[in-house]
């Protein structure tokens, strides 16, 4: 039986048409737009003389390219300035709400959607960005699309989609103390592999997932794409509803009551069967660091850099050797002995207020190790303002971190916040691909708490390793 799964319920209610010989047409409730993947889509629309069908279901912001130092000053990169000017012009021409640089709601597109209450259970959400999977944390069906599809959604508010398979990842039990949502999702990716979710929507289930707050659930769903999945979803519950209530675009009054009744039905029924199921025992999870150049190449903080010869398959051995060559690491090196040059805290994976609180909690009364460059980039202008209201900026700057303005920043290094060749980072972002944070840069993915502890120690560390840690 295929009915009764959360994914099917959301899929089914968005089917506009299922023509013979064509993939079904899916209605899109929310289309998020940013400066980098949209200009060619708007140009295509204009060349064909088409209008934006539903500007009221479209929201734009500036994030990928924006400066995180003096964001309201002149933008020194003329190409970035041109992209932002284009987005502004396109949004004005088509009547699309734009949270531009300087707006109180500007920020990383996957941070602002939930923050504004625009992302709600049971919706379909798309964006020209692979980490759109983030919004699945609310029980929405949310996935990244390319620019041709962005144009299609702008013109029709629909998307053609072959129905993906439904996969369950169930994490039983409670996360051990000190194991975060980031460690959980990196553990899942290590288990199923970079292509383990290809063609599938993953529903995350189990007590460990239920026990996460919304920030943690967003971290998990965000990295679904790193396992190749089309999307990640978590059934909405009281944690979700409490997060949404009172937000700017959340329903109110009678609408709220009706929405709640509907949202409570968005669960996978007890007898439903998945196309594939993976079970993980939460008790086996530990804080994780990636050692290679895919998010699946990771090891626990207590581990060592693996020997490529230890992998069974030839392709994996070759990939591991190439990764170690690129990363400048020797097999057998203890993870805690790897020294880092830069720490980056931010991104759509870990740039929310809860992430900043976790890092600041480690940094309070401590200082960054000599010679380490440490930057923190809030996920949105609102996250920045809220963090400042509770004094987190002072904790970061007292510890020796640079306190920046909101944007994608060093997650993908488009805006000039990059690693130098050979430089090694501990980063709370989502991709450790070769050159991701700058040509020749070496990225290790970690949680915010571990990033903070690592900044203090100068090498990979968990908070419990630090002097004075209780």
């Amino acid at each position: 039986m295929t009915g009764g799964r959360l994914f099917d319920k959301v899929w089914q209610r968005h089917l506009v048409a299922s023509p013979d010989g064509e993939p079904p047409l899916l209605y899109i409730d929310l289309h998020l737009v940013h400066e980098v993947t949209s200009p060619q889509a708007f140009e295509g629309l204009e060349l064909a003389g088409r209008a934006v069908r539903r500007p009221d279901l479209t929201v734009a912001t500036m994030d990928h390219d924006v400066p995180t130092i003096n964001p309201l000053g002149p933008i020194s990169d003329p190409l970035a300035a041109e992209q932002m000017a284009r987005l502004r012009k396109n949004c004005e021409a088509h009547g699309i709400t734009l949270y531009a640089l300087g707006s109180a709601e500007q920020g990383v597109v996957h941070v602002i959607g939930p923050q504004l209450g625009l992302t709600q259970p049971g919706m379909t959400v798309v964006c020209g960005d692979s980490h759109t999977s983030t919004h699945g944390a609310f029980g929405a069906l949310a996935f990244g699309i390319g620019t041709t599809e962005v144009e299609h959604v702008l013109a029709t508010q629909t998307l053609r989609q072959v129905k993906p398979q439904a996969m369950a990842v169930t994490v039983d039990g409670d996360l051990p103390h000190g194991v975060t949502a980031k460690d959980l999702v990196l553990g899942i990716i290590a288990e199923i592999g970079t292509g383990g979710g290809t063609g599938s929507v993953i529903e995350y289930r189990g007590d460990a997932v239920r026990g996460l707050d919304m920030a943690g659930r967003m971290t998990v769903c965000n990295m679904s794409i790193e396992a190749g999945a089309r999307a990640g979803m978590i059934a909405p519950d009281d944690v979700t509803f409490a997060f949404l209530e009172g937000r700017a675009h959340a329903p109110t009054g009678l609408h709220w009551e009706r929405a709640l009744d509907d949202w409570r039905s968005l669960v996978t029924d007890g007898r439903a069967v998945f196309d594939r199921e993976v079970r993980i025992d939460a008790a086996t999870l530990r804080p994780v660091v990636t050692w290679g150049t895919t998010p699946a190449q990771s090891v626990t903080i207590d581990g060592v850099v693996p020997d490529p010869a230890s992998f069974a398959a030839l392709a994996q051995r070759q990939a591991a050797q190439r990764a170690l060559d690129y990363m400048g690491l020797a097999p057998g090196t203890a993870v805690r002995d790897i020294r880092i040059d830069t720490v980056f805290i931010g991104s759509c994976t870990n740039g929310r207020l809860a992430d900043l609180r976790a890092a600041a909690g480690v940094l309070r009364g401590r200082t960054v190790s000599a010679g380490v460059r440490a930057i923190v980039v809030p996920g949105s202008a609102r996250v920045k303002a809220e963090a400042e209201a509770e004094g987190l900026d002072a904790v970061f700057t007292a510890a020796g971190f640079e306190w920046r303005s909101a944007g994608c920043s060093m997650c993908l290094g488009m805006n000039g916040d990059i690693l130098a060749p050979g430089e090694r980072s501990a980063s709370t972002s989502n991709r450790n691909f070769e050159g991701r944070q700058g040509p020749g840069g070496r990225t290790h993915l970690v949680s915010p708490a571990m990033a903070a502890a690592t900044a203090v120690a100068g090498h990979f560390a968990v908070p419990g390793d630090l002097e004075g840690a209780g």
């Binding site: 010989g21 200009p39 390319g146 629909t158 072959v162 290809t198 675009h249 009678l254 609408h255």
Partner: protein, 204 residues
């Protein structure tokens, strides 16, 4: 979109799995607001190695790229497809592709032929033996062949993707045939769903 029935030409091989879109086109190139001009950025970092396959004379005329599993993983940037096309590639053959990359390819008219490991290994060996060998990717028949090596094998390509490539269809025009169904659907959407801009709904 231009129709693609058949791609015939030289092939080059990148014998790696998990080739991500950051390698195919680095983020610095995404600042362009055009769809063209990305060829110079294709595999920019790897091309700094003079021995990298795209720096070999055979690559200049290559139309087909053969690569390892999970090709195109990572970012949704369609620029990766545009860069491959701008360089001259019209088809990629791999044991598997990342979902978004595959969707982008079909939308932009780049053939993504999913062949089994054995076929990819056979193509790799044949191209290594004769870099000038003519490789034929037949979209209509869903086969890849190197006649000079006596190699011919099927590949997977979803029916709809095949149809679109063969017809060179504009997806939006196809969808707008269902404009009435979209309008009908919109009338049935729950009234609590959010709209952008200043908060627009109130309790009733």
């Amino acid at each position: 979109m231009r129709a693609v029935r058949r791609v015939a030409g030289r092939a080059v091989v990148i014998d790696r799995r998990d080739v991500d879109t950051d390698q195919i086109i680095p983020a610095a190139w995404l600042k362009r607001v055009e769809r063209t001009g990305f060829g110079a950025g294709l595999f920019e970092a790897w091309r700094r190695d003079p021995d990298f396959v795209l720096n070999t004379p055979a690559a200049a005329e290559a139309k087909i790229l053969v690569a390892g599993a999970n090709f195109g993983c990572g970012s949704s940037r369609e620029h990766a497809v545009w860069a491959l096309q701008d360089f001259g590639f019209e088809a990629v053959i791999a044991p598997s592709f990342a979902d978004i990359f595959r969707g982008n390819s079909i939308g932009a008219g780049l053939v993504t032929a999913q062949a089994d490991d054995e076929t990819v290994a056979g193509l790799t060996a044949a191209v290594a033996a004769d870099p000038a060998a003519q490789v034929i990717v037949d979209v209509a028949e869903r086969t890849v062949a190197i006649p000079s090596a006596g190699l011919s094998a099927p590949f997977a390509l979803p029916d709809y993707a095949r149809w679109r490539l063969l017809e060179g269809l504009d997806d939006i025009a196809v969808t707008l045939r269902h404009a009435d169904a979209i309008t009908d659907f919109e009338r049935s959407r729950p009234d609590w769903l959010p709209v952008s801009g200043p908060r627009a709904h109130a309790a009733t």
